[in-house]
Subunit: 447 residues, 2 copies
Amino acid sequence: MGTSLNSNEIKQLLREGNFIKVVEILKDSHPVDIAELFSDLESQECLELFKKLEFGTARDVLEELEPEKVTFILTHIAPEEAALLLKEMSTDDLADYLGMLPESARQKFLHIMHQQEQNEIRSLLLYDENTAGGRMTTEFIAFPKDMKAKEALDKLAEIAPDAEMIYYVYVVDDGGKLLGVLSLRDLVLSEPDIPLSEIMYTDVKKVFATQDQEEVIRLMAKYGFLALPVVDENNVLLGIVTFDDVMDAAQEEATEDILKMAGASEEIAPEKTSPLFRARRRLPWILVALFGEIVSGNVIKNFSETLQAVVALSFFIPLLMDMGGNVGTQSAAIVVRGLAIGQIEPLLIWKNVIRESGVGAILGLINGAIVAAIAYLWQGAPALGLVIGLSMAMNLTIAAFLGTFIPLMWNRLGRDPAVTSGPFVTTLLDVIGLLVYFSTARLILRL
Amino acid sequence: MGTSLNSNEIKQLLREGNFIKVVEILKDSHPVDIAELFSDLESQECLELFKKLEFGTARDVLEELEPEKVTFILTHIAPEEAALLLKEMSTDDLADYLGMLPESARQKFLHIMHQQEQNEIRSLLLYDENTAGGRMTTEFIAFPKDMKAKEALDKLAEIAPDAEMIYYVYVVDDGGKLLGVLSLRDLVLSEPDIPLSEIMYTDVKKVFATQDQEEVIRLMAKYGFLALPVVDENNVLLGIVTFDDVMDAAQEEATEDILKMAGASEEIAPEKTSPLFRARRRLPWILVALFGEIVSGNVIKNFSETLQAVVALSFFIPLLMDMGGNVGTQSAAIVVRGLAIGQIEPLLIWKNVIRESGVGAILGLINGAIVAAIAYLWQGAPALGLVIGLSMAMNLTIAAFLGTFIPLMWNRLGRDPAVTSGPFVTTLLDVIGLLVYFSTARLILRL
């Protein structure tokens, strides 16, 4: 029931030159919907419509548009108006936009801004976009600790139109150090002349600007905050990350993890992307797997005499490969997601590895027993059953071990654990699994 | 920097009987942190500490605690106090808690509540917990359309302590039908005696109570709302879903998808869960895969004469199986996540299937060519290269086709697409892949 705009209807109206009707429809629409409509229209049409929007709406739409459209619009309207829009955009969206531009275009836009805003934006541009600093806005509300509740409320009403988040008020000392936080609700419910220092919460949850956004997401989800303050190493308040940016970040992080684990690229390609481009983005991991599986093939080749002596060994290759891959992927998924939501302590590598290996061993014993029985009943050879049951038990234990160890180790090295948890683990487990299988066979069947 | 409570320190203080110090520490702590501490303590210790908390904090802690602890506390404090706590808990958290209790305990608690609250809770209990209705709270703020801005602000200050979300005000007609919405910020910035109908937004995004929470998450993330109204089929406002519940829901949905795709269970087991229990939760898909791969083994068995004639065919089994699984998993991951974030239109099954199959065909041709070349150079047999290259091209196309088609179809049938996208697709592709491979070999090598 997101009653989005009907872009076909609007295109029809534009073709008929019925601008008045379109502007009337847009007047009642949400900026996000208008931005969505714009992405379906030609740049020139966007520009025409954009000029007809109210200033506040125009600014909000700009914050949601693709960078190409933003640049087109900003360079085709009066420079004074462009400067005003840039000034009024929220600093985090503006920094995101400018960060995507080539250096020359970025400098051009920065130059039409006031000195103070320029400095703010330049400082935001220094942070990696996936850190707290990269997600924060500098438009927060901070008051001194001896300000009275009533004063704070009046001041709030005055600056509300410019602030990104008026529902949280931060309390700082003269040096800008963060002392406490209170909500608009606390202010409304307080005695008018009580100083902020007496009603503020001092147990403030906060993040450093350089911390990964996953920590921001984790804290916001855990405590249900509307915003989280971002500080430097001296506890000076630099900015806030607001819930809407965190919702977006959380969705992006989850998408990234899911796709990386499947060995696809980090984002879902938009509707219009060509199959050739889509294929190119998925190729790298496929090629890694390809060369890994050539190694698997080599293992089989090295044991081809064993295989020719007992052809039935080949019937169980798919079973062993697939089961190892499954258990490894399960373990890796549990680690990757457990790390993301903060349920797994990243430093307790061995504790987690040992526990998961235990789970793998249990799964291995159960499945090994079932598979040994099946092999015996199917092929009528008890020794073959023993080979397959034993290899299965060993393989699933190894799979759980590596499926846990590799992403945890990768994470400890400061890299993204999701990368290692899909095709990489599966391919590695195939090679190891086949080695274990044929070595066991050679040993037990004395080939 | 979520400066959580140090539970070892607190346990030490409790052992020393230093209750006063503990209560002092808890006084400044966030309810979420207190609840986290409680989960490490014995029920009796929790009860002692709980009794010392301020009423507001006690209620907030209760909303965050595990159901067992809540029940223990509620049945060990004075019944009047329990009734008061139940009355003051937010209705969605209370309904979640009561929903987890056995029928008899639920009735007992419902009986100590007032009639009106009883009715509210009973109506919330009717919705599935993964729907908008299951996630909503009935503590929203709704005003008539001719109320003046100043009146609304005064009224708001009065009811603020009880409302779950005071930053959004909904405007309804006499029958409770939703007409519009405005933010506290809009109210603060308005002329005092303008009626709400003139400042409200009428393009209200909303959901039906029976809609899946994924739609709620999608809309909230898209528009960055603090809350989303939930209506019945007559547009009567029933409740609101707030951003903090949606953050939780989004994290849960992502975790669920990731684990289901890996064929593990739907949640990450808490720290203390035993390996045996963990193993049991992961066993079902492993067993499905086991029996699927017995079928794969049977395919190889049926072609064992072919295999014995050309042993080199076996060297490429891991390669073909793994690559098919990889491409299938990539496609499935893109579909599952694309559906979750609303980037894939669920009804355009064929459009998506055809496009993905195109991607699969491109990947198949590239890899087929590489693999054919490798097979030729490695084994010196051009016909073998042809067999492997062709099978690879066919398999990757089929993998992309099924990896897209199965989850989309499953989704269309109203089931969770993530379930079909892990071990199920991989196992199916193994069977099909081997059939394609050996059939091609028999045909081309004329065996």
